[in-house]
Symmetry: C2
Subunit: 391 residues, 2 copies
């Protein structure tokens, strides 16, 4: 683990303050009484926790007094001042960098992206630093300081150490990314796996708010999964977790780059779908958009490919639900553009493979604009800033 960075520390000093702050952050404007109820603290403790956070400007009073009860002293709502702090989130992919400037409520203020020439650290890092400085200048325009930088990378990332252990896409091994970027930018840097980062964003600001157990499934170039169990993101003792893409669904299925056959990723990820569409139609389909176009025109062979992919995803979700029994599964990812084609397969295969009462698990979808990955990175930075893992 890196030594604690010397940057200004979290706004919440005591456990109670941290609890209050994260509660308000996730559950929007609340009265103090309501905060006390949700956190289990006494109202006295809430008052004492809120005051310093208000003095620092992180919490503010007021607004949005909707339906108040007609009797008794009206309540004052407490909410987070989203504009009090800014964070930068960066997603590094094989061929481009997406960066966002997000506020304390993880709403995107500015988004940028640059294409990459090479993917070795020597080529990527200068682009990252340049992009950060660009966004820092933007932040000056808001008159607010940037308090943290989150970087999301696919692969095996050790967040605590700030090291990218192994990223197959980037072909990086043991790159101490956090340390490097910290010295280059002067910002506190959090590095995390991309799917986990997205999961954090969902847990704090999205469909996972208030849930102690849920799963996020991403569909696109790969098939990924982020897991929250007991209120915390699962990281895996050896850096592997949520590897839903390499659940083997069918021993006779197509070979996967991992060496097995019939992995979910070998059936339902973009490259697999393209391969199958080409083989089914004999057409030189090169992009997902073309495949989608064919399916939308009603080509039954192509629709069948998507149906099979949906079935594979549905069975994978069934496996996750059977193993962990989450309250909800959120399906997201670029592949969601084809959700209408997947939907039936997913639904049926999930219903068939879920065991007993596990079918009750809520399966929802959530669109994923491409900056969302970078937003996830920003969420990890916010999380580090607040300094609370448990939520």
């Amino acid at each position: 683990m890196r030594s604690t960075s010397p940057h200004e520390v979290v706004p919440a000093t005591t456990p109670a303050a941290s609890l209050v702050f994260t509660t308000v952050l996730s559950h929007g404007p609340l009265t103090r009484i309501e905060i006390a109820r949700r956190t289990g603290l006494s109202s006295a403790a809430v008052t004492k926790a809120v005051r310093p956070l208000m003095q620092l400007g992180y919490l503010v009073e007021g607004a949005d007094e909707g339906a108040r009860p007609a009797v008794g002293r009206p309540a004052n709502l407490v909410r987070v001042d989203a504009g009090r702090a800014l964070f930068i989130g960066i997603k590094v992919t094989g061929d481009e960098i997406i960066a966002v400037l997000a506020d304390l409520c993880c709403r995107i203020r500015v988004a940028r992206h640059v294409r990459l020439a090479g993917r070795e650290p020597g080529a990527v890092l200068p682009s990252v630093t340049a992009l950060v400085h660009e966004l820092l200048t933007e932040a000056d325009g808001f008159g607010v300081q940037v308090r943290g930088l989150g970087i999301a990378v696919s692969g095996d990332v050790d967040r605590a150490a700030g090291v990218v252990r192994y990223s197959p896409f980037l072909e990086w091994r043991d790159v101490p990314l956090a340390g490097i970027v910290e010295t280059a930018t002067g910002l506190p840097v959090t590095v995390d796996n991309d799917v986990r980062a997205l999961t954090v964003a969902e847990q704090w600001f999205g469909a996972g708010v208030g849930l102690s157990d849920f799963a996020l499934v991403t569909v696109g170039a790969g098939i990924g999964c982020g897991l929250v169990v007991h209120g915390r993101v699962v990281s895996g003792a050896h850096g592997v977790a949520g590897e839903i893409g390499h659940l083997s669904i069918d021993p006779l299925g197509p070979p996967c780059h991992c060496g097995n056959n019939g992995c979910v990723e070998a059936i339902a990820a973009d490259p697999a779908i393209l391969r199958e569409v080409r083989s089914a139609t004999g057409l030189p389909v090169a992009t997902v958009a073309e495949a989608l176009e064919l399916a939308r025109t009603g080509d039954p062979r192509v629709r069948e490919v998507y149906a099979r992919a949906g079935e594979a995803i549905g069975r994978a979700i069934g496996s996750v639900v059977n193993l962990l029994g989450p309250e909800r599964v959120v399906i997201s990812g670029e592949g969601l553009a084809a959700y209408d084609l997947f939907a039936e397969g997913i639904r049926d295969a999930f219903a068939a493979s879920a065991f007993g009462t596990a079918v009750q698990c809520d399966v929802t979808t959530r669109p994923l604009p491409f900056e969302e990955w970078a937003r996830g990175a920003a969420a990890t930075a916010i999380q580090s800033f607040i300094g609370s893992d448990t939520h």
Copy 2:
């Protein structure tokens, strides 16, 4: 959730005391310094936490002064007085009840079992009560009070409510078992799912001690799995968790009673193995012992059946490891008698299906005497007595 029972409360009153007690319970005799180091408390806090626990007799000083360093004041070891309290653990199966009397360290003092005539609650409950009273008499012989009763039942059990929601084996639905047995015996009763109970025993007193993430896989009449993530047993939002037995391994595999094809349980559980052995040999093999006998004589057809079963288990373990990345997987269950026949299949299939560094996960086995299920139930009672979920 049931109202808090009026029985004598936990020995540990403060968080620190609870932490100290569970640490000593799981990690054997420790010096106070060592306790402080492991818990992160100050040595002053350890002293203060230990004293009242010693006065109550739950902790005692001494014994087992092995290799002490030659210099400085010798350390006093602190350990749990296992005999200070007794617990009863009961496992209810379809046709018999196994009961154990266990001490505070979950060591079995007495074991009993009775066969059941019927499996409806009206038939089972009197047998349970009778067995409990029998063991209470035994406990009198030790001159120690029984402080809790744990009951393990397969199926969907709501531990917090003390209700068996649905047990297919027993054909029970919404039986408020804890309440009933509590009034019948006067003991605080904890009811839990059998595999989870076994997992608790492993977490506190077995191969899971000190691990925050591990999995327990049971092989036998069914294929089960208990999961510990972030130091806590996973229960599942809808009562389903660890349902490894119904991961579908092969869409073309044998049909499973759950309605799918190629579930792990339909390949590797006892009934499936017997079915396959019969079909492979044409012999009227009726028991696991006979199948084992055939395999041990070297019949290649039978060995092949076991090999395929091992492969299915190995792939299921691979799925668990890919999803959760536990530090260790413990394989146990009555089916372990055939482990030599499974071993290669498990090992190879796990190694093949584990993704990347996940193969580093430690996979071990642990023999399972049949009272072990009841011991698991006793472990849940101990856990309730101590009143600490987090470990």
